[in-house]
Amino acid sequence: MVRVEFLGPIQKAPLQLEITNLSELAEILQEDEAMRAWLENCAVAVNDMLVSSLDVELKDGDRVALLPPVCGG
């Protein structure tokens, strides 16, 4: 199982999914109407490392996080 977390202002409970890569996650989240706007401006981290490609393999126990636009300071 892969745990998917939605950080900051995204009002969505974590998911536990049986997926093996980020492309599968993209497909699943794109079906969620409320998530579409977020997907366009969210960065993605796997096990707390930002990733820049969908070709990332996921294995049991991995954690994926979606990071919406930031504004510290």
């Binding site: 993209a26 401006n41 990071l67």
Partner: protein
């Protein structure tokens, strides 16, 4: 040297502690940047969420960049609510030389704004409203909207 606090920062205390920590380190320049909540758009204050694991790795990367230039950086940030005219953010660079320090604080603060995993909310009329229009998408965002 990344310090997170619940609520507003005690700026004089932090600036003093950092100055004293490095008082014998032979740095010629110390430049803190202090961010304070401004009164605008009728807000009562700001509120912050922080995702610490990625903030820490981002900060670690900057510590290494500083080290490569003979400098060090320190940072403090608030979690939760910070009211008008209170401060939520301090970043500081110590360096042997002034040019390195001046360039480093600028680059650090700008990348902080663009990349640090911190989310800002306006406190207004009893609500906590995500400040989307003042926020910046992290480089590489949009990955999951690809088909």
């Amino acid at each position: 040297m990344l310090h997170l606090y619940d609520g507003a920062l005690d700026v004089p205390k932090i600036l003093k502690a950092w100055y004293e920590e490095e008082s014998q380190s032979n740095y010629g320049a110390y430049i803190p940047f202090v961010g304070t909540v401004r009164s605008e758009d009728g807000i009562d204050g700001l509120s912050f969420d922080i995702y610490e694991p990625i903030l820490e790795s981002w900060f670690l990367g900057w510590q290494e960049k500083a080290k490569a230039k003979g400098a060090i950086i320190k940072m403090a940030h608030s979690r939760g609510d910070v009211m008008l005219h209170e401060s939520s953010y301090i970043a500081a660079v110590f360096s042997p030389k002034r040019r390195v320090a001046l360039e480093f604080i600028d680059a650090f603060v700008e990348d902080f704004k663009a990349s640090a995993p911190i989310w800002k909310y306006d406190l207004k009329e009893g609500k906590r409203l995500y400040a989307l229009e003042r926020s910046t998408a992290i480089a590489g965002s949009g990955l999951l909207s690809q088909r």
